[in-house]
């Protein structure tokens, strides 16, 4: 052995390793620029409530997008494959974006401003947004003429009836449940008793609930006034389903569609091709356009990948876009700082508001001083950092999102906007007063990279105030199931909630009404406050939307400040980028992403 050879190559080894070390240097982070303007911007963008459009607003075609022309193919990069195509199973926003160009419902949101911030509810398949004669108990809809399925057969009231009846079938479990609950007039999932097993056994909803006197007419009858029905019907989850082509579970992969585009090819996890639906008549549709010939949707594009591809902007990438992918956290400040990208970058709020829920059923959490200590101690900065900084996450003061009417930018009872890293001194004083210094605090966190990152830093912040924090990971896929159990063992956990339509009526009652507490309900903090419950009942009867919005906000502020059960963390923001040849780029606040209905190829 050993002819001395190894000495030399060992030396080379060390050199090679050293050479690598020399090349590694980087330039450091960027100062956050325009973050000061944010509050003023927010105020401007604050939503005035969405009105119900008039009948003539419901007449197609939709107004032309300036500069739009027909033709071309747009490539769409999406992170997640579409798990559901059956409208009744659609609740998440990426499927909602897809739904906006393939499915149609009785009503829909029509943008009334070019920047996608103002909307009104109009009739989509229906001739108007709905008429009610008794303050919202009975709603009548008439179908337009010339509306057809993609196979050319007409859409009739039987299809609409079937759409709502099949919501009671056991395999439908992912979509919204507002209308079912209203029909059955029960909370939670008890509505399923109204039509056990759905319409497949030949049973139907009684005419006292849903009546279809002729081919064109649909009448909803509720026990309580439901003034929000036109909003609810505009949800993707209530888009119509063909009675003849209903294949039950299999409908989820190959649904019959009615929108301007139809699914030509779908490989789950890989790609989807959308082509023009020739049986879609623009004259019947006040909302959608059909400029692009074809959408090629590619899945499994992580935010990093889609951002890189879109920034590249060469060849086919120039006509690419993502409906829902954001600019990833790593690229965000770079993208926003580049003036050349301005024309193809859009930003806006997502509907979600992050909040730290304090589990009010835990005996240790009964002490208000403890809850206040948590509220003061909790650092918000980790949450902001985990999502990519100030441009992706705005420190929240209250529980009502800037996209929902009633938002109050000056509300900030725990000084989070001034001291986003928390106030451990004040918190410790409160904890001392309560005599609970060193108490155990179980923090259930979602096991995602972001969850891991912010939960450790939040725990560190709480620790400084004198809590003994026990972090407990919860698998991301079952996170909401686990914290949704009434008898969970966690003291605090983070959730985010987005309004289903831009009214706090889809926020305050589901989240803070103590009477809906049950497994799987959205009142994750188990708030059960007499004043809150009573106020909810009172406010839901207010028919003036502006006044209602104000009142809803008051309840939410009471929850934060006086109940101290939910600590607002952040308003989710989103920045998206498109290829330079994509026209009609607008961030739609209702969809919470780029509006696919008006895109064209320049």
């Amino acid at each position: 052995m050993g002819k001395g050879g190894r000495h030399t190559y060992a030396a080379i080894s060390v050199l090679a390793a050293g050479a690598l070390a020399l090349t590694g240097c980087s330039s450091g982070g960027s100062k956050d620029g325009a973050s000061n303007q944010k509050d003023t911007e927010n105020a401007k963008r604050q939503q005035s409530s969405i009105e119900f459009g008039k009948a003539q607003d419901s007449v197609g075609p939709a107004p032309e997008v300036p500069g739009a022309k027909a033709g071309g193919t747009v490539t769409v990069l999406q992170r997640d494959t579409y798990a559901h195509l059956d409208p009744a199973q659609i609740y998440v926003s990426d499927e909602g974006s897809l739904s906006s160009i393939i499915h149609r419902g009785l009503t829909g949101y029509k943008a009334t401003s070019e920047d996608g911030s103002k909307h009104e509810v109009v009739g989509d398949l229906a001739t108007d947004s709905g008429t009610t004669s008794d303050g919202g108990k009975t709603w009548t809809y008439k179908l337009k003429d010339g509306i057809k399925w993609a196979d050319g057969t007409p859409i009739t009231s039987a299809d609409v009836r079937h759409t709502f009846e099949r919501l009671f079938a056991p395999f439908i479990s992912n979509g919204p449940t507002y209308i079912q609950q209203w029909m059955a007039n029960t909370p939670g999932t008890e509505y399923r008793g109204l039509l056990k097993g759905g319409p497949y056994g030949g049973k139907h909803l009684p005419d006292t609930v849903l009546a279809t006197p002729d081919d064109k007419t649909i009448v909803f009858k509720f026990k309580e006034p439901k003034p929000d029905l036109p909003y609810a019907l505009a949800m993707a989850g209530y888009s119509v389903v063909s009675q003849k082509k209903d294949t039950k579970e299999k409908y989820d992969k190959a649904p019959m569609t009615a929108g301007p585009y139809k699914v030509a090819d779908f490989k789950s996890g890989k790609s989807m091709t959308l082509v023009k639906n020739t049986n879609w008549d623009p004259k019947t549709d006040p909302i959608r356009h059909q400029y692009v010939d074809q959408f090629n949707i590619l899945f499994n594009k992580q935010y990093e990948d889609s951002t890189k591809t879109l920034l590249d902007d060469t060849g086919v990438n120039a006509t690419s876009i993502s409906f829902n992918n954001q600019v990833d956290a790593g690229n965000l400040s770079k993208v926003l700082a580049d003036p050349k990208l301005k024309s193809r970058v859009v930003s806006g709020y997502q509907p979600y508001v992050g909040q730290m829920d304090i589990n009010m059923s835990q005996p240790e959490m009964q002490d208000k001083k403890v809850r206040e200590a948590i509220a003061y101690a909790l650092p918000i900065t980790p949450f902001v950092r985990a999502y990519g900084g100030a441009q992706a996450m705005e420190v929240a003061g209250g529980l009502i999102s800037p996209t929902v009417s009633g938002y109050n930018p000056s509300f900030d009872p725990f000084g989070k906007k001034k001291k986003p890293a928390g106030d451990p001194v004040k918190a410790k004083a409160l904890l001392k007063e309560a005599g609970k210094v060193g108490m155990k605090l179980t923090f259930g966190y979602i096991n995602t990279p972001e969850g891991q990152q912010y939960s450790t830093a939040m725990a560190a912040g709480l620790q400084k105030a004198g809590f003994n924090v026990q972090r407990q990971e919860i698998p991301a896929e079952t996170y909401y199931d686990q914290i949704g159990k009434v008898k969970n063992n966690f003291d605090i956990y983070h959730t985010a909630w987005g309004a289903d339509w831009p009214s706090a009526s889809t926020v305050v009652p589901p989240l803070y009404d103590g009477r809906v507490i049950q497994d799987g309900a959205a009142n994750y903090a188990h708030v059960n406050d007499k004043k809150v419950n009573a106020d909810i009942d009172r406010v839901s009867k207010i028919s003036d939307p502006v006044k209602a919005a104000e009142e809803w906000n008051k309840i939410s502020e009471y929850v934060v400040k006086d109940v101290v059960s939910n600590i607002p963390t952040g308003y989710y923001k989103q920045t998206q980028i498109a290829g330079s040849k994509v026209g009609g780029l607008v961030y739609d606040d209702v969809l919470g992403g780029v509006d696919p209905r008006r895109l064209f190829v320049k």
Partner: protein
Amino acid sequence: MTTLTKESGAPTSADAGAFLSVRDLRVQFKTEDGIVKAVDGLSFDLERGRTLGIVGESGSGKSVTNLTVLGLHNPQFATIDGEIVLDGQELITARERELEKLRGNKMAMIFQDPLTALSPYYTVGRQLSEPFMKHKGASKKEAKDRAIEMLTKVGIPQPKVRFDDYPHQFSGGMRQRAMIAMALMCDPDLLIADEPTTALDVTVQAQILDLLKDLQQEFGSAIIFITHDLGVISKMADDLLVMYAGRAVERGAMKEVLGAPRHPYTWGLLSSMPRLNSDIHQALTPIPGSPPSLLNPPSGCPFHPRCAFRSEVPGTLCTDTRPPLGAGRAAACHLTAEQKQTIFIDKIQPRLR
């Protein structure tokens, strides 16, 4: 190191008459521990048609010497000095290409272990034909004919069938025969046999030895026969060279060396060897001690630490001065000729009976 004089008496340049002439050969290996002098000033001559036997313990430099003759040491690791002249051609300074032409052609080698010395991946026939095709420019067909001829000659039954067999399909003896056939493919003038029979049982051994002798008679080759088995050597060799620690310690005609050895080491070798006709109660006498380190050989006579007759030499001669090896029949020992004779007759010979 002590005063090592030139091997006085040994001819300083190649004998014109000798077919192979080795002069003052030194082979050294560099290791991490130091320089190993595997062969240290070795000289001998060999003529056509004669057989030179080389005996010695393991590590005495026998194999190294012969690999050096063939030029099979990597010059990167071995330093080689001296002179090797084969049929008038100097080998040590010869280019690799020249050596390739000689190897397997003019000089060939039979290796010790036929199992590992034949490639398991190619047929015996191919391995036999290769050198013939290369050296004689023969076609495949001619080479095959020749190979079959040689296989027949070394006594392999059904050579035509066996031509296409792989070495593992041969028995040990057959493999050794195939090795010999391979060495003889190109009628070499010099044949080096490195313990060709050690791995074989006695009956096969005898057959192989007979075969070698027959072939020598037929081709008139010169043979170097390496072994540590004095019994075998007595059947084969004309001349004998006894090696110890990389040096020749005794040289002479086989009968003389074995009949009247003059070196204490040779005495030791003979005494440690059992004989068929010896008294079974007669104990064998092994040489005491172990072979010397070639890294740091003993001063003076390298055998002195193990030599039983050191006291017979006056003074510190044995530990200071390396005894020279004279020309012709000679032994490298400080004992006087008379001493050698008396000691052998009085003390050694009785044990050999």
